[in-house]
C-alpha cells in the first residue's frame, strides 16, 4: 500500500478558534501536515486549484460553517458536486447544533458533523480521536 501524507485543511475564520484547533491537532502527530485558511473564498480557490487534486495527494477538510464571503455549506456543495473532489472527506467542525445546519450538511454529502466541545480538554481529545479515526482507522478511497 502506498504511503500518502495526509494534509489536514482547517477552514476557520476565528483566529483564536483556529489557534486552539491547530494546537489540538498538533498535540497528536500522525505524520500529517496542517494548513489553515481563514476565509471562504480563499478556501474555495485553494480547493479548486489543480494542485489540490495532483496525483497522490490526500486531504481531510475540517470546515467551519460561518465563514466570510463564501459560507461553509457552499464550499461543501461545490466540493461534493465536483467529480474529482467528491471523495475528499469533509468534516464540518462547528459550534452550531442547529438542526437545519446538520440536515443541510448531510444532504450535501458531508462525511461527518462535529460540534466543538466547549471544554478545552474535551476538544483536544475530540481532535485526537478524529485524527485517529480518519487517518488510521478509516479506509481511504484508492489514489487516482
Amino acid at each position: 500500500m502506498e504511503n500518502h501524507v495526509i494534509n489536514i485543511v482547517l477552514i476557520e475564520d476565528n483566529p483564536y478558534e483556529a489557534e486552539l484547533a491547530m494546537r489540538s491537532l498538533q498535540s497528536s502527530n500522525l505524520g500529517n501536515s496542517i494548513i489553515h485558511i481563514d476565509d471562504g473564498a480563499d478556501a474555495l480557490e485553494y480547493l479548486m486549484h489543480d494542485d489540490f487534486i495532483a496525483h497522490g495527494k490526500r486531504h481531510l477538510i475540517l470546515l467551519d460553517l460561518n465563514l466570510p464571503r463564501i459560507d461553509g455549506l457552499e464550499i461543501l456543495k461545490q466540493m461534493k458536486r465536483d467529480e474529482k473532489r467528491a471523495m475528499t472527506p469533509i468534516i464540518v467542525l462547528t459550534s452550531s447544533k442547529e438542526e437545519r445546519d446538520i440536515i443541510e450538511s448531510y444532504k450535501l454529502g458531508v462525511n461527518s458533523y462535529i460540534v466543538k466541545p466547549v471544554n478545552f480538554e474535551s476538544f483536544v481529545s475530540a481532535m485526537s480521536d478524529l485524527k485517529v479515526y480518519w487517518l488510521l482507522l478509516n479506509q481511504w478511497p484508492p489514489a487516482r
Partner: protein
Amino acid sequence: MTSQSGLTRRLSDADEIVPDSEYVSESELRHGSDQVVRETSRSLHDNDTDAIMQMFTEKEFETSDLLEICGPFLLSDTAYNVMYMSPGIINMIPDTSGAASLPVTSLFHPDDRPILTETLSAQTHDGSIMARLKLKDCSYAWSNITIRQGNKNIHRALYISNTDELYRSYITQKKSIATLEQKAADLTRQLEAVNKELEAFSYSVSHDMRAPIRIINGYAHILETDYCADMGEECRRLFDIILTNTGQMNQMIEAVLGLSRISQKELFITDTDMPALVKAVTDEQLSAVDNSDKINIETGNIISTRCDSVLIKCVWKHLISNALKFTAQEATPHITIGSERKGDKVVYYIKDNGIGFDMQYAEKLFGIFQRLHKRTAYPGQGAGLATVKRIVMKHGGNIWAEAGTGMGATFYFSLPVTDQ
C-alpha cells in the same frame, strides 16, 4: 332610496304627509318633489285613494315612475310563482332573467324554503314572515315579507322590507370582518417576523456565543497547563473559577436553546400510555441516585391522555428528578404520583416530603434561571421548571405548586382531554 321608500310607505299608509327629515331631506324636497307632496297631501288627508288613482290615470305620473320609486316588492300567482318584480327587488337579487318559472321561495335561503312554502300555502289572509333573501353577491339578508291578498284572490303581492337596513349592516359587518381579517393577517406577519428574529437569535446564541466561551476556556486551560505548572493554591482556585464559569455559561446557553426549541417545535400528539411513561421515567431516575433503596415512590391512578409523549416524558423527568433532589436529605424520602379527572382536564400531581419552599416565592419557580435554593446545596441551572411550564402551556394545560418550608412540595399540572 330612503326618501322614496319613505314616501311609498306614507302613501300606502294613507297618512298625513309632512316633510320629515327621516324620510325626505330638505334638499330633496326642494329638488322638485315638494310640489308632489303639497298636491297629494290634500287628497291623502281626505283618505281619498281614488284621487291618487286618478292622478295616474291622467298620466300625471307614469306607473313606471311609481314602480321605480317603490321599495322592493313582487307580484305572484296564488301558487307563488313570480309574475312581476319591482326594480327595487331586481337591483337587489341575483339575475333571474333566464329562469322560465320562478317560485317565490327560490329567491330565499334553501333552509328557509320549507317554512316559507308552508306559510305561503296556508296563507288565507294578509300576513308577514321573516326569511333570508338571496342578494346579488350570493349572500343572504334577513327580510320581512309582508303578504297581501289580491282583491280577486288570483294574485298575491309580497313586500320586502328591512333588507336595506340588514343589507347595510351586513355590508358593515363584512367590512369589519375584512378589517379584522386584515388585522389578523398583519399580526400573523408580525408574529412570523418575530419568530424569524427569535430563530436568528437562537442560531446566533448557538453558534456565535459559544465560540468566545470555548476560547476563554481553551486559553485559560493552556495558560494553566503550559505556563503555570508550579502555581500556588490561590492561582489554581482562580483558574478553576474561570473554567467553572465558562462551563456554566455553556449550560445556560444550552438551557435557553432548549427552551426556544420547545417553543418552535410542533406538538406531535398521540395516545400516550401515561402509567407506563411515569414508570419508565421513575425507574430511569431512581437508577441515577445512590439512596434508591430508601426511596418510597407510590403511584396512584394515572390517567392516560393524548399528548406529545416525548415532551411530557421530559415534564415527568424534571418533576421526578426535582422530587428526588429535594428529598435527598430526608431519612425516608416519600413521593406520591397520581392524577384526577377535573372537567375537560386531567390534573397530574407529584407530592414529596422534601425541603419544600416558601410559597411567597412561588411565582419565581417557573421562571428561567430562577432558584429558590442555594446553588451549592442543590445544583442545576434553574431551567427545568421553566421548560416544564413551557411544555405544559404548549399543550393547553397549566402548572402550579403548593408547598411550605420543610413541609414538602406538591407540583400539579393539567392536560386537556382531547378527542382523536
